[in-house]
């Protein structure tokens, strides 16, 4: 009854989406070195996202933001047993090929880095799964059509202001609710309006949710923020600058994991939120000039 390993199939849609499903109910934390990755793992993160600088620092320093140093990514992969993800620039498929060769478990085609093309990467060509940002249902379904196995709300990364993540999540969930009860012809109109493939619109209508796992991201800075996003229907959360820009990253990381786990229990959330020190200072989204917003990158 033994089977040969050469008969196996790799990189199928099922394996990619299945990997994303295993992350559900979890927190994925941005880290820039193995030490931070260990802190994240110890706190109970389901995965870490390796990048050169957290979004708040990218925002502050300006310039071109690129894929992280492969030496650092390899060191992070060595340091933890949980999955390691890494960010690639929108359209930069060679960075993605390098990340796949390094053995990262998932690639984030991310608006936090500087885009290089008006086309997103053809993600179906890859064996490793991709996660992509989205602000609305049309954008989410376009990314899924290109092969994304997981979606995250874009929010406005590096701000510590969760309002855009809230807006994006509500917009996606609300548009999915609007699909209910529509016939094929009406769904076709919607597909045209939101610029999404009709088959994915039909599938979403049938499922009553996105066909892939949907996490929240962009501006989550406290346990209450994380629980809020779970309440709005997120399958899990990404926390970028919110942990390592707080005054006590170890406690904040633990607290956000516990908050996602107990998002529907206000009494527990109250305990979890006590005495965590200062969350990241942050910057109000409304005060950022439109041309400096990260969420408008990608289409």
């Amino acid at each position: 009854m033994e089977i040969e390993l050469k008969e196996l199939r790799h990189g199928t849609e099922l394996l990619k989406r299945g990997f994303a499903s295993m992350q559900k109910g979890g927190v994925i934390m941005d880290v820039t070195n193995p030490k931070e990755a260990k802190i994240a793992e110890e706190a109970g993160a389901v995965a870490v996202m390796a990048l050169h600088k957290v979004p708040a620092d990218i925002r502050a320093s300006g310039g071109i933001a690129r894929m992280a140093d492969p030496a650092v990514i390899s060191a992070i992969i060595e340091a933890v047993t949980i999955p390691v993800m890494a960010k690639t620039r929108i359209g930069h498929f060679v960075e993605s090929e390098i990340l796949e060769a390094l053995g990262v478990d998932m690639i984030d085609e991310s608006e936090v880095l500087t885009p290089v093309d008006t086309h997103h990467i053809d993600k179906t060509r890859f064996t490793v799964p991709f996660v992509c940002g989205a602000r609305d249902l049309g954008e989410a379904l376009r990314r899924i059509a290109e092969g994304a196995a997981m979606i995250r709300t874009k929010g406005e990364a590096g701000t510590g202001d969760v309002k855009e993540a809230v807006r994006h999540m509500k917009l996606i969930m609300g548009t999915i609710r609007e699909l209910r009860g529509k016939n094929e012809e009406e769904l076709m109109d919607i597909a045209r309006k939101i610029e999404a493939p009709i088959d994915l619109v039909v599938e979403t209508a049938k499922l009553g949710r996105l066909p892939v796992v949907n996490f929240a991201a962009g501006g989550i800075a406290t346990p209450a923020d994380a629980a809020l996003m779970m309440k709005l229907g997120a399958d899990g959360v990404f926390v970028g600058s919110g942990i390592f820009k707080s005054s006590d990253p170890v406690r904040m990381a633990h607290a956000i994991v516990d908050a996602v786990n107990n998002f529907d229990d206000p009494a527990k959330l109250a305990e979890i939120s006590k005495g965590l020190g200062d969350p990241m200072k942050g910057i109000e989204v409304g005060s950022i000039p439109r041309e400096e917003l990260l969420q408008v990158r990608g289409w």
Partner: protein, 185 residues
């Protein structure tokens, strides 16, 4: 039949659907005090490191040991296998030495058509995601399927473990087998 599904993290909704398709009734469990009311317990797939930490914080790890001693049937898939088996991440409730991420990272995750004699002739489309395997099993462990690299489905008494994900597809045979295990006891 009431099945407690430990719902701390991972693909809980997929397991819920699969157990219900096999004819079980699911109770989602996130804290202590519910395992004793159920006839069977399922530990879903997820990230085993995270899952074990959350189980310890909730105190469900100790309760799982008590449930095993009380003769409850337990089924663990992927991360569930790691938690039930023997390794630094497991509780050792089944006499099996488990190694995690044996095949490598997600790039090496795979699908295989698996022959599982106890489920009948038709091969089982098995989904292995950053999968563990059983490297060595004690004499009391019945090996139900293996691939090159190790044992991927095994049973010891009322404990069932699989390295792959039977919940991700419509094939409910393995969950039906688990429910029969409870009925036959």
């Amino acid at each position: 039949m009431k099945i407690a599904l430990i719902a701390l993290q991972g693909d809980v909704s997929e397991h819920k659907r699969a157990i219900e398709a096999a004819g079980g009734e699911v109770v989602l469990v996130k804290c202590r005090g519910f395992l004793t009311d159920c006839e069977g317990i399922v530990i879903p797939g997820g990230e085993s490191t995270t899952f074990m930490r959350l189980m310890r914080r909730a105190g469900i790890d100790r309760e799982l040991v008590e449930a095993k001693d009380a003769g409850k049937a337990i089924f663990g898939t992927c991360a569930g296998l790691v938690i039930l088996g023997r390794s630094e991440y497991g509780l050792g409730l089944i006499d099996a030495e488990v190694e995690r991420n044996v095949f490598g990272t997600q790039r090496e995750s795979f699908e295989a058509m698996l022959k599982i004699p106890v489920l009948g002739e038709e091969p089982f489309r098995a989904i292995f995601i950053r999968a563990p395997v059983i490297k060595e099993a004690g004499v009391g462990v019945e090996v139900l399927a293996r691939i090159e690299g190790g044992i991927v489905l095994a049973r010891q008494g009322k404990i069932l473990v699989s390295a792959f994900h039977p919940e991700l597809l419509g094939d409910s045979r393995l969950f039906e087998y688990f429910l029969r295990m409870i009925e036959d006891a």
